[in-house]
Every structure is written in C-alpha cells, then in structure tokens.
C-alpha cells in the first residue's frame, strides 16, 4: 500500500469512528436519525448547510471547471451567496411549519401545506431523480481521489465500490448527527487544504496570483472573461439566478433546516455563509494554476485537474493528506444525500402505500434502502461520462421546479391550489428533462431571437412554463 493510500484508509476509519461516537447513548428513532431531534444550534446547522458548499463538487468540480471553462465557472461563486439571502426569508417559516406539524422530510411539507398526499409523492419522485446525479457526483469524486492518490494501484471502478461501501456503513450506523459532527473535521481539513494549495501552487508555479492570471491572459486570450456568445454574461446571470432559486429546494437542504433549534439560526447563517463562499476562490486558483502546467485535459478529464497537478508538484505524504480531505468531502455530503434519498422512499412512498406502518418500521425500511440507493448510484458512477459540474446542473434543473410551489405556499393567503402545484411541477420537470437530455439550447429553440437572449440558460423555459401552468391551473381550480 502506498503512503497516500494508507493516509486515505486512516481518514475513512476516523470518519467511521466519528459517526459511531456521535450516536452513542441515543436511540435512533425516525426524528433522531433524520433531523437530529431538532436540537441543533447555530454551529451544527451552519456546518450542515455549509456541507452543501464543500462537497467533492468544490474540491474537484470548481477547480476542474475553472481549468476547463475559464470565466463561466465564476457562476459557482455567486449562486450560493444569493441563495443565502433567499434562505433568510424562506427557511424560518418552513422550519416553524415543520416543527408545528412534526415533519421530517421535504415532501412532508408539500403534502401537508397543500393537503395532498399525491403532491407529496410527486415531489418525492422529483427529489429522487435529482438526488441520484448528486450522489453519483460524490462517488465519481471519490473514485478520482483514491485512484490518483494511489498512483493507479487501485482501479477507479474498484475505488468507487470501496467508497460506496464506506458511505453505506457510515450512514447506517450514524444518521444525521454523525454527518454533522464529521462535517466539523471535514470543513477544517478542506479549508486548510484548499487555502494552502490555492496560495502555494500559484506562488510556486507562477510567482503569485496576479502573475498567474497575467500568464494565462497572455497564453489564452479571452479565457478569463466571458465569451461573446454561448456561455456569455447572459448565460452567467441566468444560471446564477436559476441555481440560487434551486439551492433551498434540495430535500437535504430542507432536512438540514429541520434540525435547527430555533428560526434565528437561519438568519444568522445568512450573514456568515456568504463569507464561507470566498474559500471557493482558492479552489479556482488551483484550477487556474493547472491550466498552463497540466494542459490537454478535456471533457470529464477536467475533473482530474487538481489531482494531476498535486501529484506532479507535491510529495506523497502531502498527496495523502490532500486525498484524505477529499475523502471527507465525498463522505459527509454523500452520506447526507443517501440518507435523504432512503428516508424519502421509506417515509414518502413506502409509508404512503402502507399508512399503518409504524415509525420503527419506516426507519428499518430506510436503513435497508441505503445499500439499494448506493447500488443505483454506483451503476451510474461507473459510466464515467460526465463532468462533475454537468451532473450537478442536471440535478438543479429538476429541483428548481419545486421553488414556485414552495414560495407560493408561504404567502399570507394561500391562493395556489394543490392541482396548480401538481400541474406546474409536472410540466416544469418534464420540460427540464426534455431540454436536458436532448441538449437543447435557447438558440436551437428560438434562432430568430437576439444573441443575448439565445445565451440564457434554457432552464428558464422550464421554470416559466411551470409558473404559467401553476398560476393558470390554480386560478381555474380555485373557482
């Protein structure tokens, strides 16, 4: 076993021990396993919400997209910041309603608010379809990290299987409390590693951050600014707005919201979390540092930019520590995602079909489903055919369709109807799926429109149709 692989194995063991110790002395009922008994304070809620930022996506995706795309990657830095502003207003009423009615999942909220179990089932299905690419993303990242750190000793497919097994065991033994406490270790590790690499690599390879950008601007003119067509500034603005709207539509984000002790927690987090986003700058610096020193990576290979550069420039023990940070960034969010998916199926599909099922039975079903969900994710992860950023954007295109019905349900007078919400989500998701899987853009749909409009993120069409159908059907069915 190589030195980096030994450090990676140690990191996985530490994570498992943390998960087991976090649950000690607590019985794992449904509410404890999924929302930590609603006792989490500012720090733990902060870490669960911040876990959304510092996943494998940050570690490999942000650096890989800076390497592969240049300026269009800047959108990753913006959308979280704007989402926290939305969270300031949306999360406190969602939390209060969930606490009042004892809700433990996001579809519970829709089903209860609109008094429609069918809407709860639809939201569950949308969530599952969106969560799978997000989980695949974490496994893909794990595979890359283990393979790169082991210098090819372990095949990437084998690494994905090992990662899936570790995440499965971790989730079954620890629940959400384990994820929150392991997130402490994960965030300290990842912050130290990203800031160190983001400062060291530009300094070591170029003599400084400014010098690095100067060298890139000279070697690749236009790479650091938005292109005139395609992923232009208009694409950037529309993508930032769409993903910001989708940020708190993810079921695991709402589940993290349920864990809070009181609503002021979210408002405080809206101040601190934007500053946390700044660490992403250092992930960009790593990706940009690789542009001139690890040339030639294209498509899904751009995921490898960070590790190719690290293996090239750092000693084996340092590669091991950086890999260990990467393992944590896949393990913690991966565990939250798989737990959310399994809970959704158990609580919002199985329990709807068997309304007499007791809470203990639902927890057992959820735990049995964890390895099943992982097997599905492994199946897609082994295909190796998408960049990490593409995977996340697919998930976002689906969950963003839940945002109009979520916001409408929080208005002082509920003018929306269950039929309107159901029809809007169904039309929005169907449109998003068609546009995503046929690789349709605004330019192919409306070639006669001006260039700026043609560059807009095509997800706007799905959202606009969603809102139009939602409003129209609500107006008709309210009579």
């Amino acid at each position: 076993m190589t030195v980096p692989l030994a450090i990676l194995a140690l990191a996985a063991m530490v994570a498992l021990l943390l998960g087991v110790s976090a649950r000690s002395g607590r019985s794992m009922g449904l509410e404890e396993w999924t929302v930590g008994g609603r006792h989490f304070g500012f720090i733990l809620v902060f870490l669960l919400l911040a876990g959304e930022i510092y996943t494998t996506f940050t570690f490999l995706g942000a650096s890989g997209s800076a390497y592969g795309l240049g300026a269009p990657a800047y959108y990753i830095l913006c959308y979280g910041t704007l989402a926290y502003i939305i969270g300031y207003f949306v999360l406190p009423p969602v939390w209060a309603y969930a606490k009042q009615h004892g809700l433990v999942s996001q579809p519970d909220f829709f089903a209860r608010k609109y008094d429609s179990p069918a809407l709860g089932v639809l939201v569950t299905l949308v969530d599952i379809v969106a969560l799978v690419p997000y989980l695949v993303l974490q496994l893909t990242g794990l595979g890359i990290i283990v393979t790169a750190a082991g210098a090819g000793v372990i095949d990437e497919d084998v690494a994905i299987w090992i990662g899936a097994a570790v995440v499965t065991v971790y989730v079954i033994v620890s629940g959400i409390r384990g994820s929150a406490w392991t997130a402490v270790v994960k965030d300290v590790l990842i912050l130290a590693v990203i800031v160190f690499l983001g400062v060291y690599l530009p300094l070591h390879l170029h003599g400084g951050i400014g010098a690095m950008f100067g060298a890139i601007a000279e070697a690749r003119p236009g790479f650091l600014t938005f292109p005139a067509h395609g992923q232009s500034v208009w694409w950037f603005v529309s993508t930032v707005l769409l993903t910001a709207l989708g940020f708190f539509s993810w079921p695991q984000a709402i589940a993290a919201c349920y864990t809070a002790r009181e609503p002021g927690t979210f408002r405080k987090n809206a101040i601190v979390l934007p500053l946390y986003q700044l660490i992403l700058l250092f992930a960009y610096f790593i990706g940009f540092a690789a542009v001139l020193h690890v040339p030639g990576l294209t498509g899904a290979q751009t995921n490898l930019a960070l590790f190719k550069l690290v293996v090239q420039e750092m000693p084996p023990w340092a590669v091991g520590i950086i890999g260990a940070a990467g393992v944590f960034t896949a393990l913690v969010p991966g565990s939250v995602l798989v737990m959310t998916t399994a809970t959704l199926i158990a609580r919002n599909l199985y329990a709807v079909a068997r309304p007499w099922a007791e809470a203990g039975e639902i927890v057992t079903v959820a735990k049995v489903l964890v390895p099943v969900v992982m097997l599905v994710a492994v199946h897609f992860a082994l295909a190796h055919n998408a960049t990490i950023v593409e995977l996340l954007l697919v998930g976002y295109s689906f969950v963003t369709q839940l945002f109009p019905a979520l916001v409408a349900s929080l208005l002082p007078r509920l003018r929306a109807t269950r039929s309107g919400a159901f029809a809007g989500i169904l039309v929005g998701v169907t449109t998003a799926a068609l546009l995503t899987f046929t690789h349709t853009t605004m330019a192919t749909l409306f070639p006669f429109l001006p260039a700026g409009v043609n560059d807009l993120n095509v997800g706007i069409i799905a959202l606009a149709l969603n809102v139009a159908v939602f409003a129209g059907v609500s107006a008709v069915s309210r009579r």
Partner: protein, 61 residues
C-alpha cells in the same frame, strides 16, 4: 416584506451588474480578472448588508 428587507435586494443586483457592465480581463483585486474580483468584493458586501438587515429586522428583536 418589511422596508428593511428590501436592503437585501442590493447584493444580487450589485454582484451580477459588474460582469455585465465590465467584462474585461484587467486586474481588479489580488490581480484577479475584473469579473472574478468584482464578485469576491460583492460577497463580502453581501455579508455586511445581511448583518445590517439582521440587526434592524424586527423579527430578530
């Protein structure tokens, strides 16, 4: 929306306006290209604006 809440609309407009109005490579902060440096500055300003909103929001009092 309380009047103080409208303050939180400033960061999204400010952050997205920079790259729209000045999509140029010249260094802005730490030698970063202008759009990236502008976004970084507005992230800090967002935290400041949200701290003001939090402080003055009647719900928090």
């Amino acid at each position: 929306m309380k009047p103080i809440h409208w303050l939180s609309m400033i960061p999204p407009v400010g952050m997205l306006a920079g790259p729209l109005l000045h999509n140029e490579v010249h260094p802005f902060i730490l030698g970063m290209p202008f759009p990236l440096g502008w976004i970084a500055v507005w992230i800090v300003l967002t935290a400041i604006v949200m701290a003001i909103v939090y402080r003055l929001d009647p719900a928090n009092r």
